[in-house]
Every structure is written in structure tokens, then in C-alpha cells.
Amino acid sequence: METILDIIRGFRAADGEVLRIDGAVAEPFAAVDPRKLRVEAAAGASARVVVVHTAPDLSVLEVELAEGAQLELTELFTAEAFAEVSVKQAARSRCRLTTVQLSSANASYRIDLDGADAENELGGVFLAAGSEHCVVKLRTGHNVADCRSNSYVKGVAGGQAVGEFSGLVYVAPDAQRTDARQQSRNILLSETARITTQPQLEIYADDVKCSHGATVGQMDAEAILYMRQRGLSESQARRLQIEGFVGDVVTRCGIEPLCGAIMELASAKMEKL
């Protein structure tokens, strides 16, 4: 965790209540345990924002993207925080959101695609061990025509941990040519762990492409055996399999060396699952 905080200290601090972004900002912004933060990206602006939750707290994050704005938002939970995130996107804006829960956490995301050709991509991971409880709630609103969304949330629970995912894709009556995808994939590592997943579609337009899917499975015993036959210990084989399962989401933030540090922290957590 220290590594991650060290890396973040090198970023621009977003410590006020409002972060206004004009133009293209190369250097990432970072906020640690924000109670309330509003991110406003002006038309055509682009930026990357990292939010880290290290203490149990309530956190409200509002994001507003003007026309053509681009934002990459990465959220990391290492303490049980309650986070409410809302993202409003105007025409042609792009938002790429990554959320990684490495402890109990309760995060809800409300995405509103309010202008044509807006695009939202959300990737989420939770790793729940012991008696932890991870919750990801998502509502993606296609409020106008010609928007795209793609959400995939992967959950792993061991011990007596509980994971919950609920995701709603809402397509308004006039939101024709909507392209919305949602995936929830989960692995249970023990008999006592529990994951519930609730994907929902609410569609009021008739010319749309919407898909959703949810799976809850177990570790692949054949793959564990195969890796052990090549000399890996059982715990290494399990960790590698979990890494393989969630790695693409954990490392998608694209900010190095932050990504690598988050992956390392996640790997350490996997050993405990």
C-alpha cells in the first residue's frame, strides 16, 4: 500500500471539492479518501484521475464530462468505504472507469449517457476474503440515442466472504441504436463464500443491441492439477488462476507504475483468499 501512496504523491493532488479540467492534461490527478469531489471536464478536455479509499468513510464523487471530453477514472479500495459515484456524459464523451476492491467496500455507480455518441466502459474487480463483504451496484442509463456502454465486473470470494453485484442497464424510449453490454463473472473459492449477481435490463426502445450475462463458478481443479504437475505449489497455482481471471481488469488502468503496484497488492491479497 505504501508503494501506491508513494506513486500517487507524484501525481497532481485533487484535494479541493471541485476539480476543473481544461484541455489535455497528461499528468494524472489523484485524490486520497475524498469526502466529496466533483470532477468537471470541459469540452474536448482529457485527463486521468485516481481515487484511493484507504479509510472507512463515506465518499461522494460526481463526474461531469462536457462534449467530447475524455476521462479515465481508477478507483482502489483498501478499506471499507461507502462510495457513491455518478458520471454524466455529454455527446461524444468517453469515460473509462476501473474499480478495484481489495477489502470490504460498498460502491455504487450511476452512469448517465446524455448526449449522442457518448461511450462508457466500466471494469470492476472485487477480492473478498475472510468475512469481508464487497458490493458493486451499477446503473447505466442510455438516455439518448447512439450511445455505447460496456461493463464487466469480476468477483472472487473465499472464506465466509460475501460478494454482491447488481447491474441495471436502462434504455430510454428514444435511445435507439443503443449498444449496451454487461457481464458479471464470479468465482467462489470455498463452500461458505457467497456471491449474488443480479444483472437487469430495462429497455424501452426497439432498435437496440443489449447483452448481459452472469456466471458464478469455482476454481478449475484440472488447471490446478496441471500447474502442480509443472512444479507449482497449490497456493501458487490458485493465485495464478485468480490472477489470470482478474488480471485484465486490474491492469487496465494504463497508468504505470501504478497498475503494476495495484496488481502486486492484489496478488498479495490472492494469497490470503
Binding site: A223, R228, L232, L240, E243, G244, G247, D248
Partner: protein, 250 residues
């Protein structure tokens, strides 16, 4: 190198191996043939340490150590390699990452330092040439989306990386076209030295045109009912197993 004596093993209470005796010495190639359901794959799995099977009687010694008391990963680290009949796909885990862990676990077991990144990459390059495995495959996820032939080549590539003392290849030739068979078999032959040994389990004589065995065994109903030299495989190809089976069942 490997001494198996009176080995009995069962799965779900059903006895599959019923008294196997087998001795493999360094430098030798053994072929195990036999009709379907005779216990060939079970023998390979039991020797490798698959916990699905229970050994009920007998012993197996590998490099002077009690093989049956070791967990599967220690058998592997000691130098036993099992080429899987159906290699498993591991999504999201790259070959490089997987092999690096495997090679370094083996080195740790032998009290050697882990390979540096440069040494490891050099090893990957050298060994992938043994089976003409493209570098594209070694950077992909383990077996994911590989064709049947690529999966089997990948098994031999891993064998080359791990340089085992004893390799047991479980129907490595099944599902291969002629070109892939040649590449896989040539790879195995290249890896053979006077210091290591290979046991190939196969249905077909054609593999043995490339990998010439010192001894051919016929497994039937969980026992080795006949052993001979390489001419035995040719006779089996021509005449089938009936002449042996009928003799045995009498």
C-alpha cells in the same frame, strides 16, 4: 531410475491398476500400449501423483526416493514430467509467466538461484525451437485457443524447459496430423539423453517410427501382460491385441 513394484490403484472404489511391475533405467525409452480401458492413463496419473486415484498396494521408487509419499509438485520438481493427453487451458495466464514460476520452483527445490529475466528469455527462445513453437504462442495464455497440435507441441516445449529426468507422455500422438506428429516426436527424440528416460503411452505404432523404444509393454486389465522389444509394436499393429488377450484371459 523408476522402479514400480506390484502397484495397485483404484478410483471411486474401482480397482484400475492390479499389480504393475515396471523398471525404467536412465537412457531408456519404454512404450506402453494396450487396448482402451486397460489402465494406461491411470498408470501415468498415479505415477505423476494425481490425488483422484488411491494407491492400495505396492511401491514406486524414483531416483531412489519413495515416489508415492510425495505430493504431485515435489515429484515434478524432482524431475518427473507428465505430458497430458488433454492439456488444460488456463485463461489469462501467459506461458511465459507460468513457465517462469515452474522453472524457478524447480531450481529452488534443487537449491539453485532463480533465473534472471534475461536468462529465462534466452531459455524460452532456445527451447521453443525444439518443437518449432512460434514465439506468438509462448506470449499467449496457456493453451488458450491453441489447436490440438499446438497444445501437444506446447507440452513438449514445457518438457524441454523443465528438462525432466523421466518424462511420461500420455498419448501425446493422439489427435495429431502427420506434420505435427513428426515435430512432436522429433522434439522428444532431441530431448532424449543417456541421463534421462521416456515412457510413451500410445495406441499407434506410427509414433514409434520416430521414438524408437527399447522396451514395449502391453497393459491389459491393469497389469503388464507382455513385454518385448520394438518388434512387438509392429506385430501389435498388424495383428492387434487379441492373440495376447486371449492367451491371458485363458
Amino acid at each position: 531410475m523408476l522402479k514400480v513394484h506390484n502397484l495397485h490403484a483404484s478410483v471411486d472404489g474401482k480397482e484400475i491398476l492390479r499389480g504393475i511391475d515396471l523398471e525404467v533405467k536412465a537412457g531408456e525409452v519404454h512404450a506402453i500400449m494396450g487396448p482402451n480401458g486397460s489402465g494406461k492413463s491411470t498408470l501415468a496419473s498415479v505415477l505423476a501423483g494425481n490425488e483422484k486415484f488411491t494407491v492400495t498396494e505396492g511401491s514406486a521408487e524414483f531416483l531412489g526416493r519413495d515416489l508415492l509419499s510425495m505430493p504431485i509438485e515435489d515429484r515434478a520438481r524432482l524431475g518427473l514430467f507428465l505430458g497430458f493427453q488433454y492439456p488444460v487451458e488456463i485463461p489469462g495466464v501467459t506461458m511465459a509467466n507460468f513457465m517462469k514460476l515452474a522453472v524457478n520452483e524447480q531450481r529452488k527445490f534443487r537449491g539453485e538461484e532463480p533465473l534472471t529475466a534475461a536468462e529465462f528469455l534466452k531459455l524460452m527462445r532456445e527451447k521453443s525451437a525444439v518443437v518449432e513453437l512460434s514465439s506468438k504462442l509462448t506470449s499467449r495464455a496457456v493453451n488458450e485457443g491453441f489447436s490440438g497440435g499446438e497444445k501437444k507441441k506446447n507440452e513438449i516445449f514445457q518438457m524441454a524447459m523443465l528438462d525432466p529426468k523421466l518424462a511420461i507422455l500420455d498419448e501425446t500422438d493422439s489427435g495429431l496430423d502427420i506434420d505435427a506428429l513428426r515435430i512432436v516426436a522429433t522434439g522428444v527424440t532431441k530431448l532424449h539423453t543417456p541421463q534421462n528416460a521416456t515412457v510413451v503411452i500410445t495406441h499407434y505404432q506410427r509414433l514409434l517410427d520416430y521414438i524408437v523404444p527399447d522396451v514395449v509393454h502391453v497393459l491389459y486389465k491393469g497389469r503388464i501382460i507382455h513385454s518385448g522389444d520394438k518388434s512387438l509394436a509392429l506385430r501389435l499393429e498388424k495383428e492387434g491385441y487379441d492373440w495376447l488377450i486371449n492367451e491371458y484371459d485363458k
